[in-house]
């Protein structure tokens, strides 16, 4: 789910693992702390640059058409860089599951490279602007939250934003993504892009059109799970409610 907020923290004191008590500090090596602080500042800055570029574009042109083209290089750079977050989980400096982070980063990479970049006719759809705005606000909130947490000076507003903005941003982002994929379908079917047909010597076939349909369908079970997970985290963090979690 591309616009979902990952519960794990990029090295902040709030542990991503539900089972850990909120506020329990993890002992991070000095080097890891320095690196993660740098990484999160860089990502906050990157998405801020994107936000400003988008605002300037709209103020100058008054339309969303051409928006993607104007910011695509910066978007691709910073969104692709997020692959590092999977590495952070792998080497253990961030307490989130590799699988969860992997799924979330992959879905963003998928949306940027395998849909928006590759299927040019849909780049001027409104839905693209929709998910771009949602992602931008989400990421600025998220990365600044991690940065401040690492530096041990988390302003209440940032914490509030991280656990409240998603309520609107998450469904909006999902809507933008789904509408974009939907708009892309006819072009994918006509061009047969990214597809492999029989016969071939490896006896396999792949139809990107059906793959996109299945991806869209997968949002149905995945989105509510992630959304309610964030809602539970919100209740725990902001209101200190004791939630009896269903054990897996």
């Amino acid at each position: 789910m591309a616009s979902s907020e990952e519960d794990g923290t990029n090295g902040s004191s709030e542990a991503g693992d539900e089972k850990e008590a909120i506020g329990k500090r993890r002992r991070l090596g000095f080097l890891a702390t320095v690196w993660l602080t740098f990484y999160n500042i860089a990502m906050t800055a990157g998405w801020l640059v994107l936000a400003i570029a988008m605002v300037r574009f709209y103020m100058e042109k008054g339309t969303h058409r051409g928006l993607y083209k104007s910011i695509q290089k910066t978007l691709k750079f910073f969104q692709t860089l997020a692959l590092l977050e999977v590495v952070h989980c792998l080497i253990g400096i961030v307490p989130t599951s590799v699988l969860v982070t992997g799924v979330q980063v992959s879905s963003r990479i998928f949306m940027v490279w395998l849909v928006t970049h590759s299927i040019k006719p849909i780049q001027n759809e409104e839905s693209v602007a929709l998910f771009l705005v949602s992602w931008t606000v989400t990421e600025i909130t998220r990365y600044s939250f991690y940065t401040f947490s690492l530096l041990d000076h988390l302003p209440h507003f940032i914490k509030w934003a991280r656990y409240n903005f998603f309520i609107i941003l998450y469904p909006v982002g999902v809507a933008g993504e789904l509408l974009t994929i939907y708009a892309a379908l006819p072009y994918v079917k006509k061009s047969g892009m990214f597809s492999v047909r029989l016969p071939n010597k490896y006896n396999v076939s792949f139809d990107y059109y059906y793959f996109l349909l299945i991806t869209m369908a997968s949002y149905i079970p995945l989105f509510p799970q992630l959304y309610f997970h964030m809602l539970r985290q919100r209740r725990k963090v902001l209101h200190g409610e004791v939630i009896v979690e269903k054990d897996d």
Binding site: L198, P199, N200, K201, Y202, N203, V204, S205, V244
Partner: protein
């Protein structure tokens, strides 16, 4: 003889669920579970996890009350493991599926391929051979489940059957679709490739079976004892010198053989996923061997000799 009192509390809510008085000191956890079921019939023993600490490890069925670090009034914490299903049931279901599903594709049952292909037969020998190998593999697994394996646990959570069947049945259908497709392309190096692959497959199937038999002979019927497995007179078991779980090694080998035989990417992917899962299991098993036995042979690796 002093009797014990046992109180059972819910591990999450600490609510008092059951109080048992006049419990024999030599009572086992299994017997206590049976007593608990009497007051809460919806929680049959297989779905009970009793522990001394709410967040601690489950006590074993064989543990004796007297030997536990408790006073004469013992407090046990209960966790519901959820609906359970027997291992045998799960294995039979998850293996019968692929056997049956593959044959649907092999016989080109209607609505899979175009109507002009209904009930036709492939003209490639390797396709018939593949059907034999695949079917043999799953028949072997079914028979082993019924007659060979000795399970440590009776049950597993019910949701596992859905997860496992999706995996086995899904991959079986995916593989079978391509191998039995009218547009199937036989292996690039022809019968040489097929012969080599078949040899690998047969050797690994024999190897896998040999290991299953050796493991069965390690453990007497009805017992749950664990011993270090060692090579026997059967040469296939000599792999025990180098790995802890040669059954998994041979299983991966079988599927690699099948992948080479059919030259089919979905088969290769299935082998890869299986290999990943079996490596995780092998590493776990290897670790518990090392923990349990001081004199465990140091040369052994979990699944791949010298490497992994």
């Amino acid at each position: 003889m002093k009797h014990y009192e046992v109180e059972i509390l819910d591990a999450k809510t600490r609510e008092k669920l059951c109080f048992l008085d006049k419990v024999e000191p030599q009572a086992t956890i299994a017997e206590i579970k049976t007593l608990f079921t009497k007051t809460h019939p919806q929680w049959y023993p297989a779905r009970q996890s009793l522990r001394l600490d709410p967040k601690g490890k489950s006590l074993k069925d064989e543990d004796v009350l007297q030997k536990l670090p408790v006073g004469t009034t013992a407090t046990l914490f209960f966790r519901d493991l959820g609906a359970q299903i027997s291992w045998v049931t799960v294995f039979l279901t998850e293996y019968a599926g692929p056997l049956f599903i593959y044959l649907l594709f092999y016989f080109r049952v209607p609505f899979i391929y175009g109507h002009k292909y209904d009930f036709t037969s492939s003209r490639h020998t390797v396709v018939h051979l593949a059907c034999l190998c695949h079917s043999f593999h799953y028949v072997k697994r079914l028979l082993e489940t019924l007659f060979v394996h000795r399970f440590s646990h009776g049950t597993m959570p019910l949701r596992n059957i859905f997860k496992n069947c999706t995996y086995y049945w899904g991959f079986a259908a995916w593989m079978a679709y391509y191998i039995n497709h009218p547009l199937y392309t036989p292996p690039t190096y022809g019968s040489q490739q097929v012969k080599l692959a078949l040899t690998i497959f047969v050797i690994c199937q024999l190897g896998n079976f040999s290991i299953h038999m050796a493991l069965r002979d390690l453990r007497p019927a009805g017992s749950k004892t664990r011993k270090i497995p060692y090579p026997t007179k059967n040469p296939f078991t000599w792999l025990f010198l180098l790995v802890s779980c040669p059954n998994y090694t041979y299983e991966v080998g079988s599927w690699i053989g099948f992948a080479i035989m059919t030259q089919c990417v979905p088969v290769a992917l299935f082998s890869l996923v299986g290999f990943t899962q079996m490596t995780i299991w092998a590493k776990g098993k290897h670790r518990s061997y090392l923990r349990e036995f001081r004199d465990y042979p140091p040369l052994r690796m979990p699944i791949i000799p010298f490497l992994l």
